[in-house]
Homo-oligomer: 208 residues x 2
DNA sequence: TTCATCACATACAGTCTGTATGTAAGCGCA
DNA sequence: TGCGCTTACATACAGACTGTATGTGATGAA
């Protein structure tokens, strides 16, 4: 049998160290904040030295980006679990919304993804992360709802971004002590308000 | 006549120095970012020393807070100018929205108020600033619209916050190159969607 | 006029970030 | 199986920044 900690392939070492660093950084970034967390503290928590950090990541920002990407993926996974494509659009939207708000209750996640993320990486980079994960299912849900005529046709990118922004703010407000029911009610009202109005002349040009 | 720079009352000196510091900080915070701007640079721009800064402000954050407060007030003033209370609620909302988006086009304002602000001061402190300035008119407009039965009754705090979040994100997206028309259209659709559906029994209990 | 206070300027201590350099272990190759 | 190159770090260093402590001249009240 081989020794306890000897004989590790370089690939394994790299993977383990990177993962340790990301885990340690995630812990501190969520407990405190990006600005209040120093690299000496991160590497101490990870059990390595700053040399390792700067070997694997270009700088502190790059490490933060890796953490943010992982958190965004985790949130997206929770949403996809709760809102399978078998649901009709409106139910999927509701289930997805609730799953999102529930996922964002994990301590420190809102600050990491919604406050520090945009400030540290910029909105553009943060949008890229969101589009790779969370926003994707939202946009697909909206497109499906439009196709099913459940909501009026609107520019998809803009609609996705603005609804996502409302969800984000709701998550922040709830964490700050706001009434979850209030925010949920408003979110529902906002999305339901997008339903095409059936009582006005029922789209004569369209049905003709 | 009195000398050029001699004979100034302490109150005048304080006011002038504080104002110089805020102006210099605003310039740099909007050109770069909070994190990328050091206090040595700020005081150089203001023509004073770091001693003056730390005499008037507890720390760099406090200076930032003063700048954010001023910017928020400036934005609110532009909105109030464009949306006088003489307008009917819906027109006031539209005029206010457009004024907000226009005001946020001033370079660096979105980053200062929408990215750095929440990250540096926290959402709670930023909400306090918003409520003292911009959000106030929005909330009043929404309350008026509810009273006029122009929109359905919803929790006011939550509705204000979520609509404001959508406006904020729109401002960021437009600055990042997004289509202003698209975002405007979605914002209008979101607010118009809040109109009560009139074919349902028109509030009989109330009119009785 | 005198003395306390104010509005700064200067000097200092501690910490952090990023880089440059050194080293031992892995790894392709003859 | 030995040899040289590269990888994965650890250590040392330079520069910058933040906040504080101290010193000083102008101001203002008594």
């Amino acid at each position: 049998m081989q020794q306890e900690s000897g004989r590790r392939s370089n690939r394994d070492r790299t993977e383990a160290t990177r993962s340790d660093l990301i885990r340690a950084a995630r812990k501190l970034f969520t407990e405190k904040s990006y600005a209040e967390t120093g690299t000496p503290e991160i590497v101490a928590e990870a059990g390595v030295t700053r040399g390792a950090l700067y070997h694997h990541f270009a700088d502190k920002q790059a490490l933060f980006a890796a953490v943010a990407e992982q958190e965004a993926a985790a949130v997206a996974a929770e949403i996809d679990d709760a809102a399978p494509p078998s649901l009709v659009p409106r139910d999927a939207l509701i289930a997805g919304s609730d799953a999102y708000l529930a996922a964002m209750r994990l301590p420190g996640r809102t600050r990491l993804l919604l406050l520090d993320g945009p400030a540290v990486l910029g909105r553009v980079a943060m949008d890229a992360i969101d589009n790779r994960h969370g926003n994707r299912s939202l946009r697909e849900g909206l497109v499906a709802a439009m196709r099913a005529q459940a909501i009026t046709r609107l520019p998809v990118e803009a609609l996705t971004a603005l609804l996502a922004a409302a969800f984000d703010r709701a998550a922040l407000a709830i964490e700050a002590g706001g009434s979850a029911e209030d925010y949920r009610a408003v979110l529902m009202a906002l999305t339901d308000g997008l339903a095409p109005v059936p009582h006005r002349a029922p789209a004569p040009a369209r049905t003709r």
